[in-house]
Symmetry: C2
Subunit: 591 residues, 2 copies
């Protein structure tokens, strides 16, 4: 059940795969130094390993009971959170004018991985606060910013996102919550929101809810939704806490996993109306939410990486310890660690390689997100924003899919012990299973990738990405390193498949959009195999220059190319040849 933050792997991926070293040299991150990066990662790793990881299993068992409107977090969580904000971890990316450290997103993503490996139920809370900070910073009035941002940035208060209603999940057009102007610049909010993560808890004195609701006479659908800030406790003019607002946790869901993350049904206005303030323009609430959506999706993607990393560590530790079976010539009462068995090694290498690829894609997405604001020129910022837009759905969906797959493999490596809750392997699977669902289901990510991201810039964004992958494959081939084996071939095959499927998709979007939609999920997986394989190959190229110190990166990249990239061609065939039988399957799906 132990977790040790893989700081060296994380630093390697940031520096040599996601491009941090190059940005530090170019000065894109101001005076951020390699030493400071190292110090941040080391200290975050220590905190995640020593302070958060031990909360994970007890938090799963204790859950977050609701009594008389009060949700109690598991024992030790409040103290850990206090230490965490004192360490400055909440404010890593926050705006400097409100006390934030304005560090790069890619560095923050690396720390998020560690918090979530420590405990996914812990990691998700601050993610939502960061999202609230972004939305308020980008869209709220100066007064709201001054009142709320300093405490949200520091983590003294936490934030939530209130979108979902029983009839409106993926489809926010169906949203019904109401906001009525009171004439004094405030609004009375009424309605029910469900699946509100950290909707109520006792970690902080106040909770700042961002709530989507409709103004009277707002147009139907998504063009009639506005965003409101609704604090749990109203804030007095002097900044002190005032009266309790009319927003209440009605119940806490009984979930498959992340038991220590309170998922609340929130009632707004049960006693007349919750006081709220408009954020951004009327009826433009969805646009305001989209401000933070990309980052939140990346943060959920990193949860997949995080749980995969922890599950891999635990399975590997078990496989080194557990002895079953023997090699030829051994005595009948002896046994080897199960790590010696080729089939177990395949499982563990699959876990390792999928985790490393997803990590690389997430960090690359963070890098692009940073450069979208920090690149030297407008063209660079535009290209980076497109790259971030392109990669975000892949980072979210692939990473969370492999989070579940790796956690499930982790259970399997443990054999019967994996099915016993005390072992902890099963908790990882239970926890991991939410990430492909929330913050936009992975199906919606795939549809976003295909319908909105591929056509960006007339297809130039995806073309540039594929060209980059090709360049890596070319470098692998030209390096002529025997230790790379057939890495270039495996990778090249995956890139070919991506190119074929992409061309087909761009055509299908025009000619038969439903066929494109039918292939979206296998297309996203294919994209990630090519992109992930290339990212690991980039790491292998860098590692090979390190005289053996990076041999593990080479072995992982090569395993990925030889064993996982071959899936790509089949996925391309499914994308280009499978739509008809998806769309025409009425008879097989009839009642």
């Amino acid at each position: 059940m132990t977790y040790r933050a893989p700081v060296a792997d994380i630093a390697f991926t940031l520096r040599h795969i996601a491009g941090l070293d190059a940005e530090l040299e170019r000065g894109a991150f101001g005076d951020l130094s390699a030493d400071l990066v190292e110090a941040v990662l080391q200290e975050a790793g220590r905190f995640a390993t020593e302070e958060i990881a031990p909360l994970n299993a007890p938090g799963d068992r204790a859950g977050t009971p609701l009594e008389d409107g009060v949700v109690t977090m598991p024992p030790g969580w409040k103290e850990a959170y206090r230490k965490w904000i004192e360490g400055g971890w909440a404010s890593l990316t926050g705006p400097e004018e409100f006390g934030g450290q304005a560090l790069p997103t890619m560095l923050a993503v690396a720390t998020q991985e560690m918090w979530n490996s420590g405990s996914m139920a812990y990691g998700i809370g601050p993610t939502l606060t960061v999202g609230a900070v972004e939305a308020i910073h980008a869209h709220a009035t100066e007064e709201l910013k001054r009142t709320y941002l300093p405490k949200l940035v520091s983590g003294e208060w936490m934030g939530t996102m209130n979108l979902t209603e029983p009839q409106a999940g993926s489809d926010l057009a169906l949203l019904r919550a109401k906001a009525e102007p009171r004439g004094d610049g405030t609004y009375l909010i009424r309605g029910t929101k469900i699946f509100i993560t950290y909707g109520e808890h006792d970690l902080t004195d106040n909770i700042v809810h961002l709530v989507l609701a409709r103004l009277p006479d707002a147009p139907p659908g998504t063009r009639g939704i506005s965003l409101f800030l609704v604090p749990k406790i109203l804030v007095n003019d002097d900044g002190s806490l005032g009266e309790r607002n009319d927003v209440w946790c009605r119940s806490v869901e009984h979930k498959l996993g992340i038991h220590a993350s309170p998922t609340c049904v929130m009632g707004f206005g049960d006693n007349g109306g919750a006081v709220g303030w408009l954020v951004g323009e009327e009826n433009r609430g969805l646009a305001c939410m989209f401000t933070m959506m990309n980052n939140a999706r990346l943060s959920v993607g990193i949860q997949g990486v995080a749980i995969a990393e922890r599950a891999t560590q635990q399975a590997l530790a078990y496989a080194r310890e557990r002895r079953q079976g023997r090699l030829p010539g051994m005595g009948q009462e002896q046994a080897v660690p199960i790590l010696a068995h080729p089939d177990v090694r395949r499982s563990l290498m699959t876990m390792r390689a999928l985790t490393a690829a997803a990590r690389a894609i997430c960090y690359q997405t963070g890098h692009a997100t940073d450069l979208a604001h920090r690149a030297a020129d407008e063209a660079g910022r535009k290209a980076a924003q497109e790259r971030a837009n392109l990669l975000t759905p892949v980072a979210k969906a692939f990473s969370t899919d492999i989070g579940v797959e790796v956690a499930s493999l982790g259970v399997q490596v443990h054999g019967g012990m994996g099915y016993i809750e005390e072992t902890g392997a099963a908790q990882h699977l239970r926890d991991a299973r939410i990430a492909p669902i929330y913050e936009g289901t992975n199906g919606i990510q795939a549809i976003d990738l295909v319908t909105r991201k591929l056509p960006m810039a007339g297809g130039a964004a995806i073309a540039a990405y594929i060209a980059e992958l090709r360049d890596i494959a070319r470098q692998v081939a030209e390096s002529n390193q025997p230790v790379f084996g057939r890495m270039g071939e495996g990778l090249g095959g995956a890139i070919d498949a991506l190119e074929t499927a992409t061309a087909w998709m761009l055509e299908a979007l025009k000619a038969e959009p439903d066929a494109a939609l039918a292939g979206a999920t296998p297309y996203l997986r294919l994209f990630a195999l090519a992109g992930g394989g290339a990212a690991l190959a980039r790491g292998a190229l860098a590692a090979q220059a390190m005289n053996g110190a990076g041999a593990a990166h080479v072995a992982t990249a090569r395993f990925f190319a030889d064993n996982l990239c071959p899936e790509a061609a089949g996925l391309a065939a499914t994308v280009t040849g499978g739509a008809y039988t998806v769309l025409g399957a009425d008879v097989a799906l009839a009642g």
Copy 2:
């Protein structure tokens, strides 16, 4: 959370894919008629739907608490079990001389699917009793048979398998339980067994444990293990129940799923020694166990099918009911059932097709198992036994793997609701997750397939199987049915891949066995895609002759060929090209 037994699909698969109709015509099953088969399936379907399915969720919540050595089954379970044995369901395949009905295994497998769809925690109990009956019937003395078989066959008593010990799971050579002869033909058994399914419960008055243990001075390893029958309650000469034997449930595991199946730590001889009787010869216990192992593996395979079927039904019902999103031209306040979305359709068709393919493989395995005893001539029986041996690991591993995959897709189709325990989708995932582990992990199944089953009869068994698949692909191509689309191509590609990988495996087994082991898991998956795709195509050929009544079978087969068979070539590439990076990955798996 409802389940309706898919009796028509089950009957179709038995009759037209697994070959039941042909056997009825040939008279291989004596006077068994199509009408009786239909009646059995209908009544089993009714019982599973009405009596067992409603126990599933409450059983999950109640679990099986242990108090003062007594394990209490959830409310309603004892009554349901009583009705079930009164209906004659326990004795379906039991030997006629002890009250059994001696019906074909393939028919029993079909009923097992329904019990397990009703509740996996329910279904697993009787499976172990059937295994105990087989072992006792094949190996025990006449006296033991007379004493125990009538009540085990009827289900009045239940049986268990006591193999695993803390240090001896997959590796029974490490087993330590002791059996000491008392000089009167009985033995005193002492030791601890873990993961004993239905080791203690209150469904029946007696429980008959089959226990592996070592005689004094037995050789080490697997050649020194004997099998003993150890009843919970000793049986008097007149058949009445006598004294309590010294075997006790020490604890019940807290598991991820199948909460209503008591998984026990059993202590034998805590107060001196449990009285046991030798079954079969001394030191030949493993061979006796293997008697029932194949059938038990098939029974676990069918659990994967069963949970996949139930998860598919539930997801499909939700997808018809849940409305999100709209088609072009619809009003902003309208929404379509999510079943209308191509990506959701892909998920549901994937669930449907994987379930159908696994069902077909399991029923075909049952068919081969039957013919191994009932074929007209020795050559036929031998070929059938080889076919059963070949397919059993595939039936077990593929079906239980897809059980988890389909249940996970089912959670995903439900979106956020899937993560809430009350919905029931998550329980299917939790329940399904044990089946790839118990009764020989799926890794062990894959190794068994590659190292023991492929070389059977000098490779002739697998060659005959591949030739059969080819023949189906040929029929598809020659049928020239437009409605089959590219089914022949997809299927042909998968069979090509299987042939390539098989040839490579047979070579590798001689030249570099570790490389064969490293590819065992992807090879098994590849085998199942080709075999499952061909089985569905066989169904499509039969369905096409039914003038449209079988259109759903055609659509499912075609979806499988177009969307799932393309994975096969990549798997073959992994098998033939990936071993080096599995075996040479030390550096990436170092501590």
